[in-house]
């Protein structure tokens, strides 16, 4: 990493040029536009230009009832759609004061964690692809397909789930799902060894990721970074532990952290979190309580006047649904706190001084979903 100050001289104006990475670019996930100012190969300034995927979710929420908005959260962050879906349900339940049966909470945890693994597969393997290794990407996506099969069995959807309902979930889990999840856990535990060999012990991978894009704790605090990106910087902040929601306090799991704060640390945190998610799923399957999967909730919920903020942990960081209700069936205002939005902005702070190739690496290691930023 070069210090941008050392290359500062009077002729800089003639030497710098801007490069438009995107909106169509192979390694900007989705339609992201990075305006990079370069001096040769050295990055002087990065300015993300967002909004190419803005679909007006928040305005849409003000035009339909709480139930009608149910499919939307999964389409904001389509990679962890299940988590968003459950999060939105939790926010409305908090607003209305609905108690969720324990079995439903457990099913929510199982499906959310499966979704988290699927999302981390994409996050970690897209990062490897940004470095130019294409094979890990295909391996990871292949393993992810097994998760999609399981979730499809109970939800009927591969990607954009609307499985959660206010007060529970739509379907009970089946015997096939139960057995399949057990088999999947065993399979994935065996596969980690392959990833370790292919990626983590690859000397070029280490050389490319180590000490690249270091996010210090102060920078993280300044920019409101959350999720695996933050835990790679040595802060063990995870909403699942800090503000326990759903059935998470009943499970025993760790929050993996790394002190370095570089791209490698973020990658390792993601891989370690996948193992922790497997642990959670295993415990939840072991102690799955009997009972109903859905509380008695009216067909159309009518929350009282007031507002609430419901935080939960998606695969990318702390998400929050802020809902203001005017006492009618239509939300007065729904605001989504998108973790990618804050995480992406850190790029402007940490990229200068790195090389062009590192921008792609850092961008991949932060793992953003564009429609979640733009909403």
């Amino acid at each position: 990493m070069l210090n941008p100050k050392t290359i500062d001289d009077t002729s800089i104006d003639q030497r710098v040029y801007t490069l438009n990475l995107g909106p169509q670019h192979p390694s900007t996930h989705g339609v992201m536009h990075l305006l990079v100012t370069l001096d040769g190969e050295v990055v002087l300034k990065v300015e993300p230009v967002i909004g190419y995927s803005h679909r007006g979710h928040e305005k849409m929420a003000e035009n339909r009832t709480y139930e009608q908005f149910l499919p939307n959260p999964a389409r904001m962050d389509y990679l962890s759609g299940m988590i968003f879906n459950h999060g939105y349900c939790m926010a409305v339940e908090k607003l209305c004061g609905i108690e969720v049966p324990r079995r439903a909470e457990y099913i929510r945890v199982i499906t959310s964690e499966l979704n988290r693994i699927a999302s981390h597969f994409i996050g970690a393997m897209d990062y490897a692809m940004g470095l130019g290794a294409i094979t890990p990407f295909l391996w990871g996506w292949d393993d992810r397909e097994h998760i999609l099969d399981l979730l499809e069995g109970i939800t009927g959807s591969r990607l954009t789930y609307s499985y959660g309902r206010f007060g529970g979930v739509r379907n009970d889990i089946t015997k096939e799902f139960y057995d399949g999840t057990r088999r999947f856990i065993d399979r994935l535990r065996g596969r980690f060894w392959d990833y370790e060999n292919l990626i983590n012990q690859n000397i070029i991978f280490i050389k490319r990721s180590k000490d690249v894009g270091v996010i210090t704790k102060d920078v993280a605090l300044d920019y409101g970074v959350t999720g695996p990106t933050l835990r790679g910087s040595g802060v063990n902040y995870d909403v699942r532990k800090m503000e326990p929601y759903s059935a998470y306090p009943e499970f025993n799991f760790d929050i993996p952290t790394r002190e370095e704060g570089d791209c490698l640390a973020r990658y390792q945190v993601r891989m370690a979190e996948m193992e922790q998610s497997l642990n959670i799923i295993e415990q939840a399957l072991d102690h799955l309580p009997p009972g109903p999967i859905r509380a008695k909730v009216p067909r159309l919920v009518t929350p009282p006047k007031g507002d609430c903020y419901c935080a939960f942990e998606s695969a990318r960081g702390a998400v929050g649904f802020y809902i203001a209700s005017d006492g009618s069936r239509i939300p007065y205002r729904i605001k989504v706190r998108a973790p990618s939005f804050s995480n992406l902005f850190v790029l402007t702070e940490i990229c200068p001084g790195h090389f062009l190739a590192d921008v792609i690496a850092i961008f991949g290691s932060i793992d953003v979903t564009v429609p979640e930023i733009d909403r």
Binding site: H25, G132, A133, I204, L356, A357
Partner: protein
């Protein structure tokens, strides 16, 4: 009357037996074989990639997709050839032509077997090196004339990379040449009839392999067309057949590089049981397979690392290796 006694037929026979005829016929064979070979290699690449990535690769066009790349070539022939408005039109037009020509010339001195050699040029190795440097110029031409920043970055990277890696490449070759005292590729192969040079010169072999991988812009040194950073690098603006000429050159250069490694280190056509041609091809294609294997396993290295690796690791090592070889052979 005996036909051979006719005077003009004698001249024809003399002409047919001459070097010029051999050269023309050889070049025609090259012109026919090289594109087919490239089509085959692209297919092999896609199959290798597929099987490494747990999928079958091309399957539908012909049995196991063997006609896939031919079909691709026909399609590229039928595409519109776009010359963007802001390009430098002449250079843009010339670049893909210039990139292919030296790739064809590179085949001339390569001895596929004792008999199969177009011409055992007395500066064979130098000829290949000299012509392979031309491809850098054409890449620079393509990158410059495209008037696209991605292309330009790719082209500039390519020049720096080729300058850096040509030095260890030549130094590694020098240590072989000191042992054989000849530039003729046929004689270099004959010198290895008992022991292959890879056993005498393992360090030079490794350096040569790495440097040729970098020279031919293959992963993990494919910074010139680094897909995840530069979209397609120097050929971002090229369409249709022009783009496929770059592809042709890339794979042909890969074959030449593998063939040179076979000649210099793996004993060329020497081997038991099979005829020399078969052995030569087996060795060459195995090396190509290794290059593909590396491509689908390793990430790409960064530009500064690439430069550091050439100047701080490869060049010192190859210099020391050359020095030791020279001392052992000439002084002791």
């Amino acid at each position: 009357m005996n036909i051979t006694q006719l005077p003009y037929l004698k001249d024809i026979y003399a002409f047919l037996g001459s070097d010029v005829t051999a050269g023309i016929v050889g070049l025609l064979i090259i012109a026919a074989i090289v594109p087919l070979n490239v089509a085959f290699l692209v297919l092999v690449e896609r199959k290798v990639a597929g099987h490494i990535q747990l999928r079958p690769g091309p399957m539908e066009v012909g049995p196991h997709g063997i006609l896939q790349t031919l079909i691709d070539a026909v399609k590229l022939l039928g595409k519109e050839m776009v010359t963007p408005q802001s390009t430098d039109k002449l250079i843009f037009f010339l670049a893909p032509i210039i990139v292919v020509a030296p790739a064809f010339v590179g085949f001339v001195p390569i001895p596929f077997s004792p008999m199969m050699q177009i011409k055992d040029v007395n500066v064979g190795i130098l000829l290949i090196f000299a012509f392979s440097s031309i491809s850098v110029i054409s890449i620079l031409m393509a990158g410059w004339s495209s008037n696209n920043k991605y292309s330009l970055i790719g082209a500039v990277r390519s020049v720096a990379q080729n300058v850096a890696y040509e030095i260890p490449l030549l130094l590694a070759t020098m240590s072989i040449l000191i042992m054989t005292n000849t530039f003729k590729m046929g004689e270099i192969v004959q010198a290895q009839s008992s022991v292959w040079f890879i056993f005498y010169q393992p360090i030079a072999a490794i350096i040569f392999f790495i440097a040729t991988t970098a020279e031919t812009n293959r992963a993990p040194f494919d910074l010139v067309e680094a897909e995840s950073e530069l979209v397609s690098g120097f050929h971002t603006e090229y369409t249709g057949m022009r783009f496929s000429l770059f592809f042709l050159a890339e794979y042909t250069n890969m074959v030449i590089a593998a063939a040179m490694f076979t000649v210099l280190f793996l004993g060329g056509w020497h081997g038991p049981l099979f005829p020399g041609m078969i052995w030569f091809l087996i060795k060459t294609y195995f090396l190509i397979f290794v290059v593909m294997w590396a491509r689908w396993t390793y990430p790409r290295i960064r530009f500064d690392q690439l430069m550091n690796f050439a100047w701080k690791v490869l060049i010192p090592f190859s210099l020391v290796n050359l020095l030791i070889t020279a001392i052992v052979l000439k002084v002791l």
